[in-house]
Symmetry: C2
Subunit: 400 residues, 2 copies
């Protein structure tokens, strides 16, 4: 019998308790032992909820109970999650979490403490929700040297962009709909400004390079500025707009960013729509591999957390190695990175179409006062030099 | 230091030796110990090849050498692979394999022996080549109850169908091209008649249900009968034709088959082209998940084999549990299974279009002497009853 404490009884926490109850047999069979939730920690009370009997408000009771083997941190946020998790690991307890903010900021440190204490710190649910991605990177694919990871890592923005594409509405309309459906927060900044995706690509990059990538170093561009007009051009060009987290390594030069991109149907992520996530890995042996699935949601995320609980139940006092040092990843200068660019410009401003090598020049009947171009591939440095002051430029989106 | 013997120095075997050599550092780091190839078994000699020095012709030397910890079976075929592997497990050695014929036929027995001997029998490379699929099913996703797996599991047939779609040629022409490129064997039956895909879906089904599915029980239909004309209709209907391995469980009724299907762009497998494989899993918690990648090829397959070697090097005397009993999966009668059907018929034979509930009725200018229909969904039993004698029927393909 393994005893678990769940920190936080929100969406994911209640999902974890539900899955452990409803899937009791399959969990026991896979863990090789019964798994029981001994405590749930939350500041709130839940009168009438079955969890009431095991609800505690005081973390010390949990961490000092020698019967607790595994602590499931699903509170979100970095404080006090970080203090709780660190304390638990130092006291020799296994921890698993779905908290990408925690993992992105403190992953290498917590992995190191777990190793020193011969316990485990696992975080499958922190990226890609229910999609198994962390474990495949660490285990199944541990022979490959990856040189690129590209992912649609945020379900909220993917929902908004899919709505805008399908229904032709504005960003604001699609955001309102996402909020009404519970896919977006009242304050949507973490999603729509790209920070959530940035944390996730920072975690994946960290594991890919075995080093620490501070997500605040990244170039991060969200989707607020993507307009109905941009989407109309994208459609005309046979493309969709997707918010991509990208990291790649060319001859030792590492580049990582989050930004909206126009991508065409030949791209494996083109069909990843609605709240779904998709993650593409490129390795030296394996070539291209893609994982697709539910990137968020109560039960998918809970199922990933419970897969970590099972792994920890089987390895209570054996550290499963994770190679993720705190040595920083050194990023190449952004200017050296290459892209194609979609640029929309005032009609009477010819300079843009004359200055760039163009792949396409487009005018749409609905937008008579402007034109758009898709440039050939060029470095960011060249691009910014050529585009100069952006007075007549209405929009810029990277193109894959 | 862990010592390995590789049985068979063909494409995969030489790939495994190559990967262990070229990725020595990353393998050592992940396995936590050095991995050395002590023997390669093959009937042939390889004069001048570096492997010459460690080549043996006599299996007894390998299996009786107490220094050998892991035996890598990449010979293919069931005999003597089965005898060698069983003997090795009984003698307390770990075994990993890429051999789907072996795993499909003897998987549960070999898994059981490994458990009894506290060693491991792993077979990640037997399905999906380099795509991590066995491990995610067993581990990451071990909380879900799956109710469906659908996959493009055979790269050769997918290449042929992609060629026919892209270039409008016949099956025979595309097969010749696949043979010229080394994607298809001189005797292509195992691929084009669906047996390879059947073995793979039998393995996946077995793991999904935790029971043994004898692949010879399955309904297996290959792609030899798919013509340029079928492909032209598929295109007109906005669909592609893909050879799918399918297993699903509806209220305890299990159905498994391999057959070509017309699928549309809303299907996640629609964009899985050329020699690539794609596998879709549907689980009660996770919803839909899809894995995409290189389903065959020397280095992708070798990388999956080496990931098993690493796992075994870390668990030399600890069995990693695999729930796969020899209790047989009981399949539901085929007649109860439902599908839509594409039927091509002689123009003057009206009976078909009058007898079925139709979703579509199509005539193409190039084929004036026939018409085609897509029926509504119906059971196979109803379908066979209605279609009667098939004298005027030119082609039947399932439609998703």
């Amino acid at each position: 019998m393994v005893k678990v404490a769940v920190l936080g009884y929100g969406t994911i926490g209640s999902g974890v308790v539900e899955v452990l109850n409803t899937s009791r047999d399959i969990v026991t069979r896979n863990a090789g032992t019964e798994v029981e939730v001994k405590y749930v920690l939350d500041l709130r009370d839940f009168p009438g909820d079955p969890v009431e009997k095991i609800l505690v408000h005081d973390y010390a009771r949990i961490v000092n109970d020698p019967e607790v083997d595994i602590i499931v941190e699903v509170m979100g946020g970095t404080h006090p999650a970080y203090e709780f998790v660190k304390d638990a690991l130092l006291k020799g307890k296994n921890v698993c979490t779905s908290n990408k903010a925690l993992v992105a900021e403190f992953g290498p440190e917590l992995v190191k403490i777990a190793k020193e204490k011969s316990v485990n710190f696992l975080f499958e649910a922190s990226v890609g929700g229910g999609i198994p991605i962390i474990r495949p990177i660490l285990r199944s694919l541990n022979v490959d040297t990856f040189y690129e990871i590209t992912g649609i890592l945020n379900g909220t923005t993917n929902y908004i962009l899919t709505k805008m594409y399908d229904e032709g509405g504005s960003f604001e309309e699609a955001l309102k709909e996402a909020q009404a459906l519970g896919y977006a927060e009242a304050d949507p900044s973490a999603d729509v400004d790209g920070f959530d995706a940035a944390r996730k690509i920072a975690i994946l990059s960290g594991l890919m390079y075995g080093k620490n990538l501070d997500f605040e170093q990244l170039s991060i561009e969200g989707i607020r500025h993507i307009s109905k007009i941009d989407m109309d051009y994208a459609k005309f060009l046979g493309k969709k707009i997707k918010l991509l987290g990208i990291t790649y390594n060319i001859n030792g030069e590492i580049y990582t960013e989050v930004a909206p991109h126009m991508i065409g149907p030949e791209n494996k992520l083109y069909n990843v729509d609605d709240v779904k996530n998709g993650i593409e890995l490129k390795g030296n042996l394996l070539g291209d591999t893609m994982f697709y699935g539910a990137g968020a949601g109560k039960l998918p995320t809970a199922s990933a957390v419970v897969s970590d609980i099972i792994d920890e139940a089987k390895h209570l006092h054996t550290n499963i190695p994770i190679l993720w040092s705190d040595e920083p990843v050194i990023l190449a200068e952004r200017g050296r990175h290459k892209s194609k660019f979609f640029i929309r410009v005032d009609r009477n401003y010819d300079e843009i179409k004359n200055k760039f090598d163009l792949e396409q020049l487009v005018t749409l009947p609905d937008y008579q006062d402007e034109y758009a171009v898709v440039t050939a591939e060029m470095t960011f440095a060249e691009f910014y030099e050529k585009i100069g002051n952006k007075e007549h430029v209405r929009s810029i989106v990277q193109v894959k």
